[in-house]
Symmetry: C2
Subunit: 187 residues, 2 copies
Amino acid sequence: MIDDETARDRVVRTADELFYTRGVQAVGMDAVRTAAGVPLKRIYTLFASKDELIVAVLRHRMSIWDAGLAGATERATTARERILAIFDFLDAWFREPDFRGCGFVNAFGELGAESHGVTEAVREQKATFQEYVARLVEEAGAPAHVAPQIAILAEGAQTTAAISGTPEAARQARAAAETLLDASGAN
Amino acid sequence: MIDDETARDRVVRTADELFYTRGVQAVGMDAVRTAAGVPLKRIYTLFASKDELIVAVLRHRMSIWDAGLAGATERATTARERILAIFDFLDAWFREPDFRGCGFVNAFGELGAESHGVTEAVREQKATFQEYVARLVEEAGAPAHVAPQIAILAEGAQTTAAISGTPEAARQARAAAETLLDASGAN
DNA sequence: TTGCGCTGAGAACGTTCGTTCTCTACTGTA
DNA sequence: TACAGTAGAGAACGAACGTTCTCAGCGCAA
């Protein structure tokens, strides 16, 4: 049989693409089956239900996002530059042709009311990001209250860029973050 | 027959509550029919399709939001205070027990990829808000580039509050807005 | 009163969904 | 070669969806 791990990965990766592009509920399990080339029976031995697949997809997306963010920020030499690199990372993402907002926010809006697993995964992703920002803010020598402000800017930029269909929110949020850091007396 | 206007209003108002609470796709037309007490046949003479009802619901929500925002901000005497009152308005909203994020953002994430009407309505709502903020920023004597920054803060606060389940993002975003206004040399 | 038109209530339609079942065909072992 | 176990491909299932149709009953002009 096809290797368990690659089959699972292929299902998750394919479902992630489909869910993000078209919305979770708009994509049936049949579409996942066809696109991934994995029989339904097998999908249902790997995941007990569609909800479980959705959660697995969100966790996969989480690791991709974390790795991408880390890669984009680690090149900067100072903590302040690493914070601002977050917004450059967003800027590049917003310019991708199939950018459609934050997949976690979309999933939460669509399913948060009905799926506890989705709510938990999304909450975890946002908490991880906020902690990452908090660490950078501390390293930059800025007061702790600046961290959630910068996280809120990043969040708002994603929504604004998605709905407007333009990437300029990244630049605007970056400038605001600079102002907040400067006014706080960071290094 | 029941008056056309009240029937239409009841359908829209009821559908708005259901859609916001449980998500749009999770609510069937049967549920709208039952909750509103209006026969399906009549609903389909008032709205050609569910998508048309959704757009009508979004436009209704838009007018509610605009009125609420105007009411919350007009009490303030200076333009700067009106800007900050936006975040007090958000704070009060976030504390409502059934707050579940911005209904427009949720609808966009759920249906934006598949419904042009939804995308258009959501885009219109966000553009209106941004223009309102821009007007206040101008009245406050702050440079124009501060306006999108403050709008992004408001946007991010809504998402953050919804996912975290706590209202504190309003306070944090308000403080950030104050810093941005102060640093820009507004009155 | 008679008949016409439209109403409300909900049954019914075709489709699609998530999930399960069937059946053929292959793999590995003796 | 024979056989047990399992994999793949997709048909099939019950439920729920958006939408349409049926039909009894009411209001109103003559």
